[in-house]
Symmetry: C2
Subunit: 137 residues, 2 copies
């Protein structure tokens, strides 16, 4: 029960771009600043650009900037962009058909935690993230 590395990286880097909106940042810089693996981050940024979350500027002095206002990018959008879309209806025990009329053994216990998780992912925007930068590594 955890987030993938890729989603950790995506949230961290998008959050950084929001808090430092002045100019495009290169992957090399973000790699140094956020201590994320360089080549992997390159692929991730390209993907986020293809999905419309980032502007990409190629060539010398290029880099990436946010393509949308930070209050319009929600955590669920980020997860969707990296192919980990929230599957609200997926049964926690893996059953194809599982709902209130035909529930799995864990269905009822899972309802509340799931609702709060969904709420967090759907209603937390980049703009509403905590903004200290004291944490490194």
């Amino acid at each position: 029960m955890h987030f993938s590395k890729t989603s950790e990286y995506a949230i961290r880097v998008l959050s950084y771009l929001h808090r430092h909106p002045t100019q495009p940042y290169s992957v090399a810089f973000l790699h140094e600043e956020l201590n994320l693996p360089y080549k992997y981050l390159t692929k991730l940024m390209t993907q986020l650009h293809k999905k419309g979350l980032l502007n990409s500027i190629r060539g010398r002095d290029g880099g990436f900037t946010l393509a949308l206002d930070a209050d319009k990018i929600f955590l669920c959008d980020i997860l969707e962009a990296i192919g980990e879309a929230l599957e609200s209806n997926r049964c926690i025990l893996g059953f194809e058909k599982c709902d209130s009329s035909n529930p799995c053994a864990l269905h009822n216990q899972w309802l509340k935690p799931k609702a709060l998780l969904e709420d967090m992912l759907k209603n937390t925007s980049l703009a509403s993230l905590h903004s200290t930068e004291s944490i490194k590594f």
Copy 2:
């Protein structure tokens, strides 16, 4: 953000054993009954036995039974037995040090969903699981 297949399997099979406490069940039978991969289930059952959740009866007419009362086996115990112990303090963005005095960007938003998840895992026993068996496959 999901449970592993292994944990799905473990919860399903332990739940089944609780609801059918009469006799030891062989892996071959449970494989048929729950539609879980036979060899993989064998490994899982052996592991659950080693971790003390199951009694194992070897030889002909052998099989597995619950080693503890169903109201003393909690979801977190099952996850721990399969090496996926709940890491309450793990930062959701992957930072080594992350707490209220030095929070990551998602720290506060994560508090409530995490608390409910933990509550579910720590306080849901096999005995308190929903007991219909209408779901198959």
